[in-house]
Symmetry: C2
Subunit: 105 residues, 2 copies
């Protein structure tokens, strides 16, 4: 069993999205991505089986589902997609996101 205080474990960077590895096991990989306003995880996809969940912990932004397809996200929103589907995020305010990938890649 392990406990992590996400708000203490990771901060923000002017250089770009700040990535923190929360957990990696044969079952899932858990990451915390922190964004300053305007920072993004560009639209991308991986040609592997599995799914990813993106949970907004703090802040507001947009989920990127395609080149011209954006969906507003706010705290308490969760988005789930196949890893092979295009996905990304862009922050409007300082935004903290929990990312869970299963199986881990």
């Amino acid at each position: 069993m392990k406990q992590i205080h996400l708000f203490q474990a990771n901060d923000f960077s002017e250089k770009g999205m700040k990535r923190f590895l929360v957990h990696d096991s044969p079952y899932f990989k858990i990451l915390n991505f922190n964004f300053l306003p305007g920072q993004s995880l560009p639209l991308h996809a991986h040609d592997v089986e599995g799914q990813v969940s993106l949970l907004i912990l703090e802040g507001e932004g947009e989920y990127l589902a395609g080149e011209e397809q954006t969906i507003p996200v706010a705290p308490g929103d969760i988005v789930i997609c196949d890893i092979a589907e295009p996905h990304g995020l862009r922050a409007r305010s300082s935004m903290r996101v929990l990312v869970t990938i299963a199986p881990p890649i």
Copy 2:
């Protein structure tokens, strides 16, 4: 791709912990458990392989790790354990928790 607004999708119940199935797939099962003060998910374990993550979205309480072993939890805290390890939760204030189980059971 699907999006769920957790704070709108699930509420609280005087009868006990309010459970909401967010997602179920071959890769992971995602649930939202809401507790009123004093409500709990009793200490339990499942004799299967895999891990569970418990993320506190709102409220405060205690993670139950054993009969006499409790750990305070607050928003932004994540606890990860084997499904076979004893685990549980008890709420001190109204508490919302996201639970991810991989592989799904």
